[in-house]
């Protein structure tokens, strides 16, 4: 199984999901009109990863903007990682600009509905 890497576009984020290290990253902007089609290949990749996950998985999310259709896809991604958490250690790290209270609130919303360790990490401007 190969790593999943996607370079950023004007409306889509950088993605790097490393199979062997279990270190995953999503960063930049996630504002595609059709988020479902955009995230489907990644979610298919994660379905395979879940079958034989690393002993430790860390997903770092550093988003500047995301639309509400992307938030549905992120929930789907987090749900898949919840199933990994039954077999091994999983942490989601949600980075936000310390002045961006909406991005903090979004992280708190995900944290509230999920059953995996979800860290909120402020970043200085």
């Amino acid at each position: 199984m190969d790593n999943y890497t996607l370079q950023p576009g004007s409306k889509t984020p950088f993605m790097q999901f490393n199979m062997t290290s279990g270190v995953f990253e999503i960063s930049g902007r996630s504002i595609p009109e059709n988020s479902i089609a955009f995230y489907k290949p990644l979610l298919d990749w994660v379905d395979e990863y879940v079958k034989s996950p690393n002993i430790k998985t860390v997903l770092s999310i550093k988003l500047e903007y995301f639309n509400t259709s992307s938030s549905k896809c992120l929930v789907e991604l987090f749900r898949k990682l919840e199933s990994v958490n039954e077999k091994s250690e999983v942490t989601v790290q949600w980075y936000y600009d310390e002045e961006d209270e909406d991005m903090l609130e979004s992280g708190q919303d995900f944290q509230f509905i999920l059953a995996i360790p979800f860290e909120l990490i402020p970043m200085e401007e």
Binding site: Y65, T68, S69, E76, D100, E101, D102
Partner: protein, 182 residues
């Protein structure tokens, strides 16, 4: 908003909305390319304006939701009915975002009831409602939009009530105006 006109042309409607000088306006066909163009131009505009980071980010996030929502509601490939307007007005320490597009009359009640429900909620209730929608959201091609999260997100981020109006156009269509102040 109190705009009551029958069979009004898009350009006339836009003119009445533009009367108090928009800092940004797009009037015309709304397709993928024009939606992208609006989002890109609004991003540049907000970055070169003297707003706080907080207002800039809220205004841009809401612009994305409004433009993509407008694009999702477009009346197929009809050259008359796939036109829309998107305006930004600059008030003191405030940004007003207005969109307008044609929708079928059959969609009016559904949009109206969703906005009315959201407008009744306090900020705390909005947050709980948003979390509930997020929790039950489904990942399916059939439900490619924001699962109703868009309106709630806009109301939550703006901290204001959503204003709307439906202007009668003909037997089948109305012109749907959406306005939010940030």
């Amino acid at each position: 908003m109190a705009l009551n006109h029958n069979n009004i042309a898009l350009e006339e409607m836009a003119s009445s909305l533009l009367a108090d000088k928009a800092m940004y306006n797009y009037i015309g066909i709304f397709d993928q390319a024009s939606a992208d163009k609006v989002i890109l131009e609004v991003n540049d505009l907000l970055n070169h304006h003297d707003y706080s980071l907080k207002i800039r980010k809220k205004a841009f996030c809401i612009t994305i939701e409004v433009v993509q929502n407008l694009f999702n509601y477009l009346c197929c490939n009809d050259v008359v009915y796939n036109k829309g307007i998107f305006l930004i007005h600059n008030n003191i320490n405030e940004v007003a975002i207005t969109s307008g597009n044609y929708i079928r009359k059959t969609e009016v009640n559904s949009i109206k009831s969703r906005i009315d429900l959201i407008n009744c909620l306090t900020s705390e209730e909005l947050r709980h409602f948003y979390r509930r929608l997020l929790e039950i959201s489904s990942f399916s091609i059939q439900d490619a939009g924001g699962a109703g999260l868009g309106f709630v997100d806009i109301a939550k981020k703006s901290g204001n009530k959503i204003e709307y109006d439906f202007l009668d156009i003909d037997n089948e269509y109305v012109f749907y105006i959406f306005k939010i102040i940030i």
